[in-house]
């Protein structure tokens, strides 16, 4: 049984209320930090913990905090990125919905560490019901003196606001999020300057994911060293994985980083294997923006080393034979999955969600979607497959924000690993467009 940090009390009845949350030891970190620690000491603990951003990029949280520009008469802000919209990722909403005080406690402790007097939770507009839960919890925290003026008599004051976004995927990108929070169109900003220097209202700002912030109370309560003992190497602590797709037991799991992927996928404690006893075909390990991997390369690296659930192990082999842990949006696919259709579906999403600010992303995502649509619907040509790869290369790395990369990687990796399936679609336009038609390897290749 893996150790639980974030979800330990998640099934306790009424844990969303302050009374029950307090009974389970909630808000201890606020008392400890505000009464016995300086803000620098809190930052130091987070640094020691080795906690890495749980939004997808995996940047060390403590280091990010230490980049925050020194106050020069300007306020500092902490913004919680709760705009979880990556296809396949649904972990943050569980935390916010079930145990909202964990996030609020993390926000208070983290804001204290950063010297922020006003903080924001930017939540995806579609999650209006979660917003209501958070608002209610925040009101409880204000009433109990954990928010507002002079918290617990420590002299530290904090205001916490929840801000619903309009439901655009791009607003999950930190600078677009800040633009949106300022009331503008959610377009990513050019970097530099980074938010740590010029963020919200041109003031030093830290943007952190829900899960990262919710991990801070445990670190403060139990010290960074203790947290760093969990996990493997530079992947410390626990991680929420939202497992979906063709699994016997889809759901949100908290795992200790370093868990063997085979155990995560097949053991009854976690996903319970591929549904209906079917064959495991492919996986998207960290949300739809990371490269897709065929089953054999997911379970073991190209060198035959069994993979474990860590940032490093999953990216072993780079984008040639590896992928990323990303946001932990785990999508398993069985052998009835049409990779071309799946890739088209992803491409459709990124085309729809591109903000349109920079040319390669604005035009390229649409182009890729149209090519994939053609191939999937039996109108493709062989040269389209190379064209697809070439267009993805023109987008990758050439855009303002990572949405371009997020659109390009799934397409490039799908063609890299499942090229024969794309070719089969081109060669068998009639068969490929049949409902449920899927390329199943050598047998069907022989039908050509």
């Amino acid at each position: 049984m893996g150790r639980k940090i974030l979800t330990e009390h998640i099934n306790v009845p009424d844990i969303h209320t302050l009374a029950v949350y307090r009974k389970m030891g909630g808000y201890r970190s606020v008392e400890k930090a505000l009464k016995t620690m300086t803000s620098e000491e809190v930052v130091e603990e987070v640094k020691k913990s080795g906690l890495r951003g749980r939004g997808g990029a995996g940047f060390p949280t403590g280091m990010k905090w230490s980049f925050l520009a020194k106050p020069e008469g300007k306020p500092r802000y902490l913004v919680c990125n709760a705009d979880e919209s990556e296809p396949g990722t649904f972990k943050d909403r569980v935390l916010m919905e079930k145990i909202p005080h964990a996030l609020i406690e993390g926000m208070i402790t983290s804001s204290y560490a950063l010297g922020a007097r006003t903080s924001y939770i930017y939540i995806r507009g579609e999650l209006m019901f979660v917003l209501r839960i958070l608002e209610k919890a925040i009101a409880e925290a204000y009433a109990a003196g954990f928010l507002g003026e002079n918290i617990l008599g420590s002299g530290y004051s904090l205001d916490l606001h929840v801000h619903p976004g309009g439901g655009a995927y791009i607003c999950g990108e930190e600078t677009a999020l800040l633009e949106s929070l300022e009331g503008k169109r959610g377009n990513p900003r050019n970097k530099p300057p980074f938010p740590a220097v010029q963020g919200l209202y041109a003031c030093p700002t830290v943007v952190n994911n829900v899960e990262s912030i919710a991990s801070v109370p445990w670190i403060v309560n139990n010290t960074g060293e203790e947290y760093a003992k969990i996990g493997v190497g530079r992947s410390t602590g626990t991680k929420l994985i939202s497992a979906g797709g063709h699994l016997n037991k889809p759901g949100v799991y908290e795992i200790e980083l370093g868990l063997p992927v085979e155990e995560f996928l097949f053991s009854d404690e976690y996903c319970g294997g591929i549904w209906k006893g079917r064959q495991f075909k492919a996986v998207v390990a960290g949300g739809s923006s990371v490269p897709i991997l065929p089953a054999h390369l997911f379970l073991k690296t190209a060198e035959g080393v069994p993979r474990v659930m860590t940032y490093e192990s999953l990216s072993e082999g780079g984008f040639v034979s590896g992928t990323m842990l990303g946001s932990g949006g785990f999508i398993a696919m069985d052998d009835t999955t049409c990779i071309v259709r799946n890739t088209w579906n992803f491409a459709r999403f990124y085309h729809h969600e591109s903000c349109g600010q920079c040319s390669p992303c604005r035009e390229g995502t649409g182009w890729m979607e149209k090519i994939l649509h053609r191939i999937e619907h039996g109108h493709g040509h062989m040269h389209d497959i190379d064209l697809l790869v070439n267009v993805s290369k023109q987008i990758e790395g050439n855009t303002i924000c990572p949405l371009g990369d997020a659109a390009a990687w799934p397409v490039a990796s799908a063609v890299r690993h499942f090229r024969e399936e794309f070719e089969w679609h081109v060669k068998h336009p009639g068969a490929a467009t049949q409902p449920g038609a899927v390329y199943r390897g050598a047998e069907e290749a022989a039908l050509v």
Binding site: R185, P192, G356, S359, R362, W367, I371, N398
Partner: protein, 332 residues
């Protein structure tokens, strides 16, 4: 001051300068193209990705190369930076890709476009594009929008550089237009069929790098290379009043602001100067406008031969003086 190496050429420039502006100090062919960056407009740049360059050494302190190509118009220089533009095949390949992307939805109708001859995209695609497109799908098209009697908006040609939006935002006090929609469905438009009418609205025409925003009072009257550009000025209470008159014979067909060598307006002008003063008498003509020889606008504008009076023996001094003082050809 920072010392940087740009395409093998070393320059020293003030800290905080962008890579693009550093390249412009060198000038010539090494200057990266820019479609969305516009010096007088705060916040512009970084969008079209035409000016991507490779930074092979970040700075003297941290000489690691930058992992991705960077937009030179928004990236500040650092001491010891080494930048590759024309020397990097990766940059040229990326630029080819940007042209291809921009031309996906920009119709190649230069023969009927009013911007032909002074279009940044036309020049950009000529220098960096390919002869054929690989795009086979349908292009996006837009319904025509009426945004008033002075400016024609032709959204089909828009490359969404945002320049006009920044202009409207920073020059005028009654902004009614902006970007609507998202992705490749986004468009420049007015909110609920508004008319763009404020004293400096005409400047959006000058900043538009393509033919999306054109002057309704000039449309289809002439091709720019058949007109004669003259520098002129007038005493204007609203703006600097320094303009270019685009004339045919004694007719003033169009009035625009003056631009520098990178096609950027030096002084924005008011609508009165631009649209209402179309008589020669309204202006004090300073002389012919110098247009770069490389520009298509200089076609058919022949330069006078440069005479060297010394080679002609026994020429009267008065003739020598006359030849020396002959007005400089307006096309060099």
């Amino acid at each position: 001051m920072a010392k940087i190496t740009f395409d093998g050429i070393e320059v020293e420039i003030p800290d905080g300068t962008t890579i693009l502006n550093a390249a412009r100090k060198i000038g010539g062919d090494v200057v990266p193209p820019a479609m969305c960056y516009y010096t007088p407009l705060k916040g512009s740049g970084g969008k079209c990705r035409a000016c991507l360059v490779k930074v092979t050494a970040g700075s003297a302190k941290d000489p690691r190369p930058m992992p991705k190509l960077v937009a030179s118009c928004v990236t500040p220089v650092q001491d010891g930076m080494v930048v590759e533009n024309t020397l990097s095949p990766q940059v040229l390949e990326a630029r080819k890709g940007v042209v291809e992307m921009l031309l996906i939805n920009h119709p190649l109708d230069c023969p009927v476009c009013d911007q032909a001859g002074e279009c940044d995209l036309q020049n950009f695609s000529y220098e960096h594009g390919t002869s054929a497109t690989r795009y086979e799908e349908d292009r996006r098209t837009f319904e025509k929008q009426d945004i008033g009697p002075l400016i024609q908006l032709h959204m089909n040609r828009c490359i969404l550089c945002y320049r006009c939006v920044y202009t409207a935002d920073q020059l005028t006090n009654k902004r009614v237009h902006g970007v609507l929609g998202r992705g490749d469905a986004s468009e420049i438009g007015t909110y609920i069929e508004n008319v763009i009418d404020n004293e400096f609205s005409g400047n959006v025409i000058d900043v538009c790098p393509v033919g999306a925003l054109t002057d309704k009072t000039f449309r289809f009257k002439n091709r720019v290379w058949f007109t004669k550009p003259l520098d002129a000025h007038r005493d204007c209470p609203k703006c600097a009043g320094k303009v270019i008159l685009w004339t045919r014979g004694s007719d003033v067909l169009r009035v625009t602001a003056r631009k520098n060598e990178y096609g950027e307006v030096v002084d924005f002008i008011c609508n009165e100067c631009r649209f209402e003063k179309k008589e020669m008498n309204d202006w004090t003509v300073e002389g012919p406008r110098h247009i770069a020889r490389a520009s298509v606008i200089s076609a058919n504008h022949y330069e006078l031969p440069v005479l060297n009076p010394q080679l002609i023996p026994d020429l009267p001094q008065s003739t020598v003086d006359e030849l020396n003082n002959f007005p400089r050809p307006f096309i060099s």
